[in-house]
């Protein structure tokens, strides 16, 4: 069940340091939204506020609203654990649990939510999630082997399988391909294309071609100067951003004339 995300006047802090200032954007359901921008402009920081992973860092806080289907994630009474269960996240470096088998990795999140689940249901879920992550064929004969024994690209797809196994509404991806070779990258990009029919997907990437290939909407973040907070410069259809950006800074960045 893909959901729309509506961000209003979001300021993001690390302690007293204002890292990202005044973000307003509407992230569409059943679409891929790419976030681009120079290093340190706050893409990861912003992404992590969408599932309340930001506050895991001591001293980190936000002000403003992030509405998912009209529910503000930062309203009092909202359970961050519930938010993260609904808004899944894939990290830059593949991070399967090293002590768990492939099978256990996939069901790790599911087991938290449902204690009593039949073995057959569980098996179906594992197969479904691994197929959904285009990994089933490669690992179906070694589900009981540790997840850390897979290649980097396979590990990343395992992490995606783990994320979609809990059937989230939204999937966040922070540079999911930056630690992978071109072939694995292609596999993940194909996967993102398939996933977007079911999920709202937000992806951070440094790769312009990738943003152009996989995304429907693109947001460009930038810094005015070092030490200044990052902000959202422009947010529009990917087509428009890459062919006819509204801002000079966006054009410079995309065409590599940045600096």
């Amino acid at each position: 069940m893909a959901k729309r995300i509506d961000v209003k006047d979001l300021d993001i802090y690390y302690g007293d340091f204002l890292a990202v200032k005044g973000v307003n954007m509407v992230i569409e359901p059943r679409a891929v939204t790419a976030l681009i921008g120079p290093s340190g402009c706050g893409k990861s920081t912003f992404l992590r506020t969408l599932n309340r992973m930001h506050e895991v860092i001591p001293g980190a806080r936000v002000s403003g609203e992030v509405r998912v289907d009209d529910q503000d994630l930062y309203a009092p009474g909202v359970d961050p654990v519930g938010v993260r269960r609904r808004v899944g996240m894939v990290f830059q470096r593949p991070n399967p649990f090293p002590t768990m088998s492939i099978y256990d990795n996939v069901v790790a999140g599911v087991k938290l939510n449902s204690t009593r689940m039949k073995k057959s249901e569980m098996d179906d879920l594992v197969e479904g999630s691994l197929k959904g992550a285009n990994l089933w064929k490669e690992v179906k004969d070694r589900l009981d082997k540790p997840g850390s024994g897979l290649s980097g690209g396979q590990q990343q797809r395992l992490c995606i399988a783990r994320t979609i196994a809990v059937k989230p509404d939204v999937v966040l991806m922070d540079e999911p391909c930056s630690a992978l070779d071109p072939i694995s990258t292609l596999a993940i990009e194909d996967l993102i294309n398939e996933l977007k029919s079911d999920y709202t997907i937000v992806i951070v990437t440094h790769n312009m071609q990738q943003a152009a290939r996989v995304s429907d909407m693109t947001g460009f973040f930038n810094l005015k100067a070092t030490g200044e907070p990052g902000h959202l410069v422009e947010y529009d259809d990917t087509q428009k951003i890459f062919s006819n950006p509204g801002q000079k800074a966006t054009e410079d960045y995309i065409s590599g004339r940045f600096g």
Partner: protein, 373 residues
Amino acid sequence: MPDIDLDVPDQRETQSPRPSRPDRSPVADTPLLRPNLPRYAAPAMLVVAFAIVLALGLTVWSTNPVALLLETAVLFGAAIFTASALVEGRRNAVDRLVTVVVTTFFLLALLPLVSVLVEVVSDGYKRFDLQFFTYSMRGVVGEGGGAYAAIMGTLIITAVTTVVSVPIGILTAVYLVEYSRESRLGKVLTFFVDVMTGIPSIVAGLFAVALFVLFLGPGARAGVIGAVALSVLMIPVVVRSTEEMLRLVPNELREASYALGVSRWRTIVKVVLRTSVAGIVTGVTLAVARIIGETAPLLVTVGTTTSSNLNPFSGRMATLPVFSYYEYAQPGIPREPYLDRAWAAALTLIIIVMALNLIARLVSRLFAPKTGR
């Protein structure tokens, strides 16, 4: 208020495939907006639980601090778990319960420390007077007397131990960090230094006794025998802490020095050791604090005496821990003056040890290389 997803938590019971939303069949929903216990609930419950326990303790049960802590923890844990399970669901209830358990464990560990300090101070202050620090026990029966000889004995033996252990310990650490380079000897040495930190103190005492049978024959007692025993305990501590400090010295410093044509040993002494001197002093101070209260090895190597023998190379000597032990274990009649002296010695000892710990922390704080922030 937003109106979505106010699912009741116990929908988990009916989580099997839901035909209405086939795409998320086996997975239970965690409600986004879940009913929360109000902020004041936990503190209020804690206060009430403690009040009940205290009232019960004062009237029927016991006011032993451990009992109070445990009973409060159990009562509060049960209350918060139940409340949270009803309102917030089982998973949050478990999370809260674990928080209570972990915090209780920590508080439980603080109680002995507080209790020891209270006990030592409240029993030790009675004889914590001038006479205690200026008189020995020569000819004393019953009241009076003091730990002068014992304090001097402890200081002398500790000094000898330090003089023996520190050079050996630091040189070994230098060997491990600067020379061994993954050699076989280095690996073996690292392993056995670690193992050596685990030698029981009484075994170190027996070793020193056995060693000195060779020189002095059986039954000999002397301060140096005790110092040898204590050195066996102190050297590995010095090695480990010094090693850690030397490894913190960045390689660029060494290379810069070599590039200036300074020889290797001068580089080690003037650059590496000089840079890490604060850390090494801290480590040595903590090592001294560790061995200064050792009783068992001194009991078998130095024995005790009532006169003040300040010569570590011959004959029995009085030392503070052993003094405390014998005043407690072999008192005269009446017992009180002896026990008071035992506690006063314990108080002296704990003040010395805590002061050494404090000094160590101060040294490392004051002289630590400045880092950012």
